[in-house]
Assembly symmetry: C2
Homo-oligomer: 191 residues x 2
Amino acid sequence: MARAGLTPRVVVDVALDLVDERGADALTLAAVAKRAGVATPSLYKHIGGLADLRRMVATRVVEGLAQELNAAVLGLSGRDAVRALLRAYRSHVRSRPHRVRFLETAPTPDDPEASRAYRVAVDVMFAALRTYDLVEGERVRTTRLLRSMVHGFVVLEVAGGFGLPEDVDATFEELLDDAEALLDRRAPSTA
Amino acid sequence: MARAGLTPRVVVDVALDLVDERGADALTLAAVAKRAGVATPSLYKHIGGLADLRRMVATRVVEGLAQELNAAVLGLSGRDAVRALLRAYRSHVRSRPHRVRFLETAPTPDDPEASRAYRVAVDVMFAALRTYDLVEGERVRTTRLLRSMVHGFVVLEVAGGFGLPEDVDATFEELLDDAEALLDRRAPSTA
DNA sequence: TGTGTAAGCTAATAACATTAGCTTCGGCAT
DNA sequence: ATGCCGAAGCTAATGTTATTAGCTTACACA
């Protein structure tokens, strides 16, 4: 019989497809195995188990977000960079709403892969503030506040927490303005 | 044999204890039944199943939050009310971190109980802005932004998304200042 | 005191994760 | 070419959980 040719990476690919198509709760080893064309126990040759697979999926989700954020700010600086970053964060989550579950728990420190991916994502945001003239300690706190705003917004949005969908775009535009004002308050000198 | 005297309310109480003590993933019917002193199938006399129990738990979690928010703003108005509200939101979630999972999905419209609880919670926030002189459409959007900020912050905080814990308090104080500035931009006339 | 209903029970089924141990494909050295 | 051996796959078995069906009995109330 022809082998399926699985690798950890492929297993995670299949898992992500499953999550995107049928939601985070549909991520079971049985479903992944079926879709990959192998028996369930065969997956254990490539992953440590369901918890391990979830961890790897979360890592890939964060990596994907980081990449998209990074691409969004390329060549931009100042206000433009921040606005592009926040827009990219929202649009990425909206395009794959089921993945948001995997953005809701930070990696444990003993997971270097996941920690690295997470750090990269935060660093992109951090770097987008480089052109703002912030005092040292303010950079970290300001990054946290921007993350809180945009993360809270998209989490509530994809959860349907805003009621009627109309006008949510306008609310997000206001969020961008508020983010900018927040930065201006801290670095009024920046162009 | 003496009956256990269960009711839907008691089952949810037990479920909440379980969540608080052992985390949201530990919420299984088997565990609830054991703790309640009955056999697992007996729970079906009071709840519709696991999904139903989760729904009821989520409702109670939102009710609890709404109550605490409401208590926090009693007798306050303007800036004081908003600051107290946001502080209460954070402290409530921090005191029962495992419950946050149940704040991350909005109720479906066909669930009147849950929808009502959710609406009450949002209304408390909405009402806290009453003393601000906002134009009509701005009230809804402003409420959303405050919710996004504080919800995003506490979600990231309890998930451990902020790295080192020190200084998180200071970041939250900045969030309060930013929320105030955000309101001042929209209603500069308010005292 | 009798009776009906709701609260409890046991038994059975199905989905899933996980472990153990077997089989075989296919790359690689001879 | 051929034979070896490790990795990739398999089946079988176990344990946990949710759920349904159908039985029994406590207890409120007539």
